[in-house]
Amino acid sequence: MWKSLHIDPKKCTGCLQCEMACSVEHTGVINPSKSRIKVFSFETEGRKVPYTCTQCTEAWCMNACPVDAIRLDAATGAKQVFDDVCVGCKVCTIACPFGTVNYNQDTGKVQKCDLCGGDPACAAACPTAAITYVDADWTGLDRMRAWAAKANTAVTE
C-alpha cells in the first residue's frame, strides 16, 4: 500500500525543520538550499505553505526524461531520479508543471522528492503535523472527518 505526503498549510509555522531534515537525509549536510521540499511564506497574508512533488501517476518529468533517469519506485510510488543515469539536461524541470524537480549545481544532476524510500524525513521532522505521510487513497480523510463533524452538529441541532 502506497502512502502520500499530505500537507496542511494551516498548521505550518514556517520553522523549516522539514527543509533541514530533507537536506540531511539526502546530502548529510544541514542545508535548506538543497532541500526538495520548500516552505513559501506569503507575508501579507500570514500564510506559510510547504510545497513538494506530489508524485504524479503520469509524471511529466518521467515522460520527458530522454535517458530514462526518472523511474517509478514500485514500493512507494515515488518517481525517483537515478543520479548515475541523469545527464543534467534539465528537460524534466521544464516539463514539470509544478516546479518541484530542480537542478543541483553541486551534483550536476536534477533532484526531486523520492519519499525517502518510504519514511519521509520532512514528515518526521515537522513539529506541528503540517506534513504527514498517509494512506495514498485517503489523503482527504482528515478533511472529510472535519466536514462530517459539522454535518453531525447540524443534525443534532
Binding site: N31, P32, S33
Partner: protein, 615 residues
C-alpha cells in the same frame, strides 16, 4: 564542530572585506554568539570609545547551534558598545538571517570604521562586497529588504537593515531582519547608522556540514524537541498566546508597570492582552491575530502575525499597513500600552508596525513616551513643544509621537535620545524609568523583587533577557519562589544570569529555558562541537561571560553606582495588588549579590574571581 571557523572582517573606512580564521582558543572558552562576539569586541576596542564613532566596532555573530536542527537554532547576536547606555550592547534576534550566515560559510561578521557614503554588505557564500546604498538611504527596513532582493534578482536573500531610526541615530534604534524580527535593544541600530551601513544581505548555499556526530545530534535534538512540545509553556501557552500570555498574569500579581511606573496594575490590561488579540472585532468580524509563526528551526513558534483593523483611525487612509505583519509581543504591548495608560489594541499594533518598519525598539520608545506623558501632565512639557496634547491614555499622542520619533521630526528628535537624557534635560532625572540609561521592560520590581536586582545588575542596562527570574518568581520554573521577598534572590539572579549566557552563546532562544535547563542544552552542544563540553565547563563559561561583560563596563567608566534603580521603585510603595505597600529591596540584595559573584563591595571582580574564571 558546529563552527564554520571563519570570520568576515569588513573595514568600512577602507571598503574592504577579508576572511580570517575564527580564534578557536576563544571558541573553546566562549562558545559563540554573545560569548565569543563579546570576547572579540572587548579584545579589539577601547572601552572608553564613543559608541557612535568610527572607533567602535559592531559584530554580528552566530553560535554553533545556529543554522542547525536544534530547536530555535536560528539566533544571531549583535555586539557593540551601546550608545544608549555606554555599556556593552548585546542584542539577539531570531528570524532567518542568522542561519543564512552559517549557510554562507561564516560564523561572524566584524564591522569596523565608517563608510564615507552609505553602503550595504552583500554576501554570497565566500563572496563578500560592499555595495553602494545611496538609493536605499531614507528607506524603511521593509522597503530596503524588498529593494535588495529586487536588485540581485534573488527572493531567497535574507536581509538585516536599519530604517529611518537607525539612520537618524535614534539611541534605541534596532536592526530589523526578515521584516519583523529585531536585534532590538540598546541602540545597536544607531551604531550601524553611524557607520553608514544600511543593510547586510546574505545568501548561503553551503549549509552546516561540520556537526561532530550527526547521528547523535539528530537523536538528541529530537529528544529535546519533545520536551519543548510536552511542556505547558513552550508546547501550548507560547504557540497559542505568544508572550502576550503574560499580560493578565502579570497584571493580577500587581507587577504591570503602568503610567511610567506610577501604578502597578492597569485597568485596561485585558483590552491589550493575548485574549484580546484572539477576540473577534465588532468592526470587521475578524480577530487581530491571524496566526502564530516560527523563527528558523523553532518548534515553539511564539511569533505573532496580526492584521490591524483597516478602519482604525491610525491606518484608515494608509493601505500599506493593512496586510498581515508582525504582531504585538508582550513587551511591546506593555511598553506601548500599559506604560502610557493606552488601552487601544489597534493603536498599539500601529505603533508596533512603525517600530518594525523604521527599526525602533518598542520597549525603550514606549517607556520614553511614559516619561513624556508624565512630564506633560506635570506641565513641564507643553502641547506647543510636543506638537500634540499628550496625557496618559492618549492613543492619538502615542501614534503621533511614534511617527515623529521614527522620522526624526520635531520633538521626536528628543524622544529619540531615550528617557534618561530627556528627563535630565527637563529637570526631572528621577522620572526616567531606566537602569544605565536603558528603559525597563514589562515587570515592576516592587511586585517581582528579584527582577529589581536583575535589572540593576544587567550588563546591558534594564532588561528582562539577562536574568529572567519571573520564570521562578511567577511561573514556578524551575522552582516557585515568593515574588514579594528579597530572600534568596541574589542566588536566583546569579544563577539565571549565568545560565542565560550559555543559552545565548549556543545560538538558541532563551525561551527554550521555560522547559530546558543547561543540562538539556549541554548534550546538544556536545554532539555538535569538538572538544569537551561538560556541565562544569558550560557553567563556568556562563559566569565567565558575565564577568567579561562586567569588566568591560567597569573599564568604560561604569561603577556600582550604576547598579541602581530609579527612586520611584525604591521609595514609592506599590499602590494596589499583592505588592501593595512594598518597594523594591535592592539595597538588601545588592551586597549579597556582589559577594556571591566574588566581587568587592564596589562591584569589582576580585583577583581570585578573575583567576578562577580564567579572565
Amino acid at each position: 564542530m558546529g563552527w564554520n571557523r571563519k570570520v568576515l572582517r569588513v573595514d568600512l573606512t577602507a571598503g574592504t572585506c577579508k576572511a580570517e580564521p575564527l580564534n578557536m582558543e576563544w571558541a573553546d572558552e566562549y562558545l559563540g554568539s554573545r560569548g565569543l562576539a563579546t570576547k572579540y569586541l572587548v579584545s579589539e576596542i577601547d572601552p572608553k570609545v564613543d559608541p557612535l564613532s568610527p572607533d567602535n566596532k559592531m559584530i554580528m555573530s552566530t553560535g554553533p547551534l545556529t543554522g542547525t536542527m536544534a530547536s530555535t537554532g536560528g539566533r544571531y547576536t549583535v555586539v557593540t558598545k551601546g550608545p544608549l547606555t555606554g555599556a556593552v550592547a548585546c542584542s539577539n534576534s531570531g528570524g532567518f538571517f542568522g542561519a543564512e550566515m552559517k549557510f554562507a560559510g561564516w560564523d561572524m561578521i566584524i564591522f569596523e570604521g565608517r563608510s564615507p557614503t552609505p553602503v550595504y554588505l552583500y554576501v554570497e557564500n565566500d563572496k563578500a562586497e560592499l555595495v553602494d546604498a545611496a538609493d536605499l538611504w531614507g528607506k524603511s527596513c521593509w522597503e530596503t529588504e524588498e529593494a535588495i532582493k529586487h536588485h540581485h534578482q534573488d527572493p531567497l536573500i535574507r536581509v538585516s537593515s536599519i530604517g529611518l531610526a537607525g539612520e537618524n541615530q535614534v539611541l534605541f534604534a534596532c536592526i530589523v531582519n526578515d521584516l519583523h524580527r529585531a536585534a532590538g535593544r540598546s541602540g545597536v541600530g544607531a551604531v550601524m547608522g553611524s557607520k553608514n551601513l544600511k543593510a547586510v544581505a546574505l545568501r548561503g548555499t553551503k549549509g552546516v556540514s561540520g556537526i561532530k556526530d550527526m547521528k547523535a545530534f539528530m537523536k538528541i535534538t529530537n529528544e529535546k524537541k519533545k520536551i519543548l512540545a510536552d511542556n505547558a509553556v513552550t508546547g501550548q501557552g507560547l504557540p497559542k498566546y505568544g508572550t502576550q500570555v503574560l499580560m493578565n498574569v502579570i497584571n493580577e500579581i500587581g507587577a504591570l508597570p503602568t503610567r511610567n511606573h506610577k501604578d502597578v496594575q492597569f485597568e485596561d490590561a485585558g483590552k491589550i492582552s493575548a485574549e484580546a488579540m484572539h477576540e473577534v472585532r465588532p468592526t470587521d468580524g475578524k480577530p487581530q491575530l491571524v496566526t502564530n509563526a516560527a523563527c528558523f528551526g523553532c518548534t515553539i513558534a511564539c511569533g505573532r502575525i496580526a492584521e490591524i483593523d483597516k478602519g482604525h483611525f491610525t491606518v484608515v487612509n494608509n493601505p500599506k499597513y493593512w496586510g498581515a505583519s508582525g504582531g504585538l509581543e508582550y513587551e511591546a504591548a506593555w511598553a506601548l500600552g500599559a506604560a502610557n495608560g493606552v488601552g487601544d489594541l489597534e493603536a498599539l499594533q500601529y505603533a508596533n508596525l512603525l517600530c518594525n518598519e523604521q527599526g525602533m525598539d518598542p520597549i525603550s520608545f514606549g517607556a520614553t513616551i511614559g516619561a513624556v506623558m508624565e512630564l506633560y501632565e506635570m506641565g513641564v512639557l507643553t502641547k506647543e513643544q510636543l506638537g500634540t496634547e499628550a496625557p496618559f491614555g492618549s492613543a492619538a499622542a502615542l501614534v503621533r509621537l511614534a511617527e515623529m520619533t521614527a522620522r526624526g521630526e520635531g520633538f521626536g528628535k528628543e524622544i529619540g535620545q531615550g528617557s534618561r537624557r530627556l528627563c535630565a534635560k527637563y529637570g526631572h532625572p528621577e522620572l526616567s524609568m531606566t537602569v544605565k540609561g536603558q528603559e525597563f521592560p514589562a515587570y515592576d520590581a516592587r511586585g517581582i523583587q528579584g527582577m529589581g536586582l536583575a535589572y540593576a545588575t544587567s550588563n546591558r542596562g534594564a532588561c528582562h533577557l539577562r536574568g529572567y527570574t519571573v520564570a521562578s518568581e511567577v511561573l514556578g520554573i524551575p522552582v516557585k519562589t515568593d515574588p514579594l521577598t528579597t530572600e534568596g534572590k541574589p542566588e536566583l539572579v546569579k544563577a539565571f544570569q549565568d545560565a542565560t549566557a550559555v543559552f545565548d552563546a549556543a545560538g538558541i532562544c532563551v525561551f527554550t529555558s521555560f522547559a530546558w535547563t543547561v543540562a538539556d542544552v549541554q548534550p546538544q552542544i556536545e554532539a555538535a562541537c569538538e572538544g569537551d563540553w561538560s556541565m562544569e565547563k558550560l557553567n563556568a563559561m556562563g559566569e565567565r561571560i558575565w564577568n567579561m561583560e562586567r569588566l568591560f563596563n567597569n573599564a568604560a567608566g561604569l561603577t556600582s553606582k550604576d547598579d541602581n534603580l530609579p527612586p520611584r521603585l525604591t521609595t514609592e510603595p506599590a499602590k494596589t495588588g499583592p505588592a501593595k505597600g512594598l518597594v523594591n529591596g535592592l539595597a538588601t540584595m545588592l551586597p549579597e549579590y556582589y559577594k556571591l559573584r566574588g566581587w568587592t563591595p564596589d562591584g569589582v571582580p576580585t583577583a581570585e574571581t578573575l583567576e578562577r574564571l580564567g579572565l
